[in-house]
Amino acid sequence: MMQKSVNQTKITLLSRSVNEGYARVAVAAFAAQFDPTVEELGDIKTAVSEAVTNCIVHAYGNTIGPIYITVDLFEDKRVRIKIRDKGCGIENVAKAMEPLYTTGGAERSGLGFSVMQSFTDSLRVRSTPGKGTTVTMEKVIKTR
């Protein structure tokens, strides 16, 4: 059954690398109403940073395009973060998600998806080559 979110924010930003910091802080600030621990906030910031960096480095490459972020909060203290781009898309999502695999050159670790996976409770990647990619992550904030 689809649960309805109790709160939502939508953020649109351009794929400029200077926006990486803004994106992760904005999402973390919105999730803060669930009273997460410092560690949980760090996890959210890191996962968002990875997804947004992928849009900038891979999806749009040398071009500038829009990144759409939707954050939903659910009653069971679940945070769902959807990050969508209209960039080049990924031919082989399974391959792209393999640890250490990168098309980004020697300075990219190839661990972006691994970090998203370990810092959230679920990660889903949908991509259509030529059309874009949507990354959906969920993180449950533990009740203290």
Binding site: S17, V18, E20, G21, R24, E39, G42, K45, T46, S49, E50, T53, I56, V57, A106, E107, R108, S109, L111, G112, S114, V115, S118
Partner: protein
Amino acid sequence: MPLQIQSDGQTVTAYLAGEIDHHEAVSMRQAIDAQLMGGDVKLLVMDFTDVTFMDSSGIGLVMGRYRQIRYNEGELHIVNPSPHIYKVMRIAGLERLAVIHKTTPARRELP
């Protein structure tokens, strides 16, 4: 730039600060690599005491510098990563490549 570097020709210490993401990593990389040119540097110390955030771009930064210092047959030491940064580092297994000091080591503890 949020980075200070000390060098005596053999040991380079980079005091990183602020947030390390893809946007910030570029200038940090260039500043550190400028000190590693020439091949005489045998020890690179990356001090994370004042780093407040790091994503996998930081892993790329560390792994790239590790390759450089290994090419010089030297060692990489990482100083004082926060619990969050250590968590990111462990995903990459950086503790197998570098000596990680969880507190600021006394001068004599470094080789």
